[in-house]
Symmetry: C2
Subunit: 460 residues, 2 copies
């Protein structure tokens, strides 16, 4: 696929140079909205408006939705009012609301001025929901049916009203008061007898989400139940919109990216890498780096207070990085596993004792394995091969490091599994509790353990 786009790219450049606009229009109208948007992103800005104006109206709106916000803003600024109106008319309300959220105020004003009064109402309705809520990602364009309709009437209604609807595959059965009482798919309607009543065919056990529910819950619901769309209801159970599977997939990808960013101690952003400037990237990364650097003062204090004893057996210093690295890795293995399981709903807070018990057992066998391998390795490599340990130190120092490993891995896994669970309980984001945060705690604890065990065994 990639290759096709690149080839088209070259062709289009040539045709543009030769001003073969008719051929260009023909090529573009056979292409997919997403592919055209990708093509535009790789293109010099100056060429985009000309090509964009060649697109058929409906395709133009689809392409517009797929483009990144910089290109959208650039195009809007170049549009005449009537061109802008054409695009806005073709946009579905939720797409328009999404675009408006990202635009500067003067552009927003222009867009809303061009929208039809009805569309403006829909867009404003969607804009009032909090960011990341079901309301903010839903579309108000859906097909609803009455329970008393026959299959024939229902299909007729769909034919009549379906053109503008984002999805017509699932229809919603609502009472006169707007209450959602059932759903029915086109599949069911098409496969049923024409005079059957909708209320006899509809599924009455409707899974729905509230307008204020978090978008992550919405995406999970769509994904768990294999839905093409999930209905969104207000507090009185009235149907106000639907979230379609394509928007749910976008949310899943976006939320996962945010989780991954948090795990790597980066401030979250939904902007793609290529769209963030150098200073913006710096702003996303520096807070955690600073915080973690400052909090490493504790490990510094611990080392300083054991300075004299370290000087007595200076060989101990050589193993600090290994101990802290292993502790960090063991801890992040546990924390990342637990964070992912929490976000996939595989476990919840009530499983905390099960999780701790399991991690304790895993950490003990991990710790013992590491300790045994390390003991043998230190004697063979650090003592015999490299001669970094004095003969009288070889066994006791290896023993100190190995014992510390067992305790460090245990503590790391214990903290690594407990903190995300507790965060979840306190309604904090578990992902923030991931590796870097835990590493700092584990670093401090493992150093303390190291020096205490060293003091006890080496009598320093």
């Amino acid at each position: 696929m990639e290759r096709n786009i690149i080839t088209v790219d070259v062709t289009i450049d040539k045709l543009l140079a030769e001003k073969k606009y008719k051929t260009l229009r023909d090529i573009l109208s056979t292409m997919n909205a997403y592919d055209i948007a990708m093509l535009f992103e790789d293109m010099h800005d100056s060429k985009i408006p000309l090509l964009f104006r060649m697109l058929p109206k409906e395709l133009a709106a689809d392409v517009f939705v797929e483009m990144d916000e910089d290109t959208q803003e650039f195009l809007i600024k170049g549009f005449s009012d009537s061109e802008l109106k054409e695009i806005v008319d073709e946009l579905s309300a939720d797409d328009a609301a999404d675009i408006i959220e990202e635009m500067p105020a003067n552009v927003v004003k222009r867009i809303l001025r061009q929208a039809s009064p009805e569309a403006r109402k829909d867009i404003n309705g969607l804009l009032k929901y909090p960011d990341s809520s079901a309301g903010s990602i839903m579309t108000t364009e859906f097909v609803y049916l009455r329970p008393s309709m026959t299959v024939e009437e229902a299909i007729k209604r769909i034919r009549r009203t379906g053109v503008d609807k984002e999805t017509i595959y699932t229809c919603y059965v609502v009472q006169n008061n707007g209450k959602l009482i059932g759903i029915i798919t086109i599949k069911t309607l098409l496969l049923a007898e024409e005079d059957e009543l909708v209320e006899n065919l509809m599924e009455t056990n409707v899974i729905s989400v509230g307008t204020l529910d978090d978008q992550e819950l919405v995406a999970q619901t769509v994904s768990n139940y294999d839905f093409l769309a999930v209905p969104v209801v207000d507090t009185e159970g009235r149907l106000v919109g639907i979230v379609t599977v394509d928007d749910a997939v976008d949310v899943l990808v976006e939320e996962t990216t945010e989780d991954i960013q948090k795990m790597a101690a980066i401030a979250t952003t939904d902007k793609p890498y290529t769209k963030t400037g150098v200073f913006e990237t710096w702003r996303h990364r520096i807070p955690w780096l600073l915080l973690l650097m400052i909090s490493a003062t504790f490990t510094g204090i611990i080392i300083s207070s054991f300075e004299e004893r370290l000087a007595a057996v200076i060989a101990l210093t050589a193993f600090i990085p290994m101990l802290m690295g292993t502790g960090g890795n063991a801890g992040s293995q546990a924390s990342v596993t637990i964070i992912r399981s929490l976000s996939l709903d595989e476990i919840e807070f009530k499983d905390i004792f099960y999780v701790i018990f399991k991690e304790c057992r895993v950490s003990l066998i991990c710790g013992i394995t590491l300790a045994v391998v390390n003991f043998v390795k230190m004697l063979l490599v650090d003592y015999l091969l490299l001669g970094h340990l004095k003969p009288e130190q070889a066994v006791p120092v290896s023993l100190v490091v190995s014992l510390t490993l067992v305790v460090t891995v245990f503590v790391a896994k214990f903290i690594g599994c407990t903190l995300p669970m507790v965060a979840k309980k306190l309604h904090l984001d578990p992902a923030v509790m991931a590796s870097p945060f835990i590493t700092t705690i584990v670093d401090a604890v493992s150093l303390l353990v190291y020096f205490f065990i060293a003091t006890a065994i080496l009598h320093i």
Copy 2:
């Protein structure tokens, strides 16, 4: 939603105890397949077969698909041959193939024996595709139309054949030789005139995937193009199956989980946390822990060879954990960002110079910020407040640590962004190049830099 399931849970337990089977059947048949499967997972094994047998045939098959493999195997072992046949008959071929892939050989034999000859052919057909290929996740149940059909004939055909098809919302237009030449949605058909020809309405620019394409590409395609399903074609362009959006979402979630596991140095598994035993978890985690522990030997060697100089200015030791921690964090920020961008197709190998140039600038301003803050902090906290630094050492040691920070962050971000890109180019998985691996390299480099700068400035 969670709460509802728990309430039903209690109700069902009571009704079971009171043997009110009719009521139970009524309750279960109003529930969703996914919810019933979740209910069974939280239930004692002994109760499941009784409840499962109460389900209507079609629902039973749906519930079966949603259950975890242990419960599936447990149920199959308890089924009579005729019960097993009923379930297998209701399963779609791709679901059956998925289940068979997870089952032990004797269970597989029993399942295949019970399948109808036609179903067995479909299942065997699906099983021959390599794991994680488009062929392995596609379903062979789709609706195809001929280009010469009218809209009326097409809708009739859908009504006649659609019952068993996994999705009827998108229909595929194929020639007599099986070649896929277009797609058409039910939406288009329903909104068109009855005597219009399919070939005049169909979309001819069809995006499809090959049977051997990686499932991640398939999922990306469905997600990028907002498809409900993507057609799968063989090397001759003949339509052999489709992958529906719900399966694509499962792949997205699964692949992301694997990426996250790799980033946290865990061997990948698609088993949920609660289903992996202690020894299995140990097996997934210990290889990387061992490898990273052993590779930390390098940092040990570096420290040992600077042992005497360290003894001269023992205060230097106190800042080793902070330097290594900051290097590790800076590196994983870059590597995780790049890995995610690669997997979302935001960047590719040809962008490597853009990426390196950007990361170099980001790392310089990050490094300088950290260095300035650290310099002030060391003078205020470590020297004035804690007295860990001798007066004549305060400025030079702070300078050494701060300069090392700049170099470390630069190296960390450079390696962090380069390794995943190079891995991608070499067709290795970029995610494996994430934090722990990079940390080990950065640790060694930053220690070397530290000691060289210290030697130069402190004249030790």
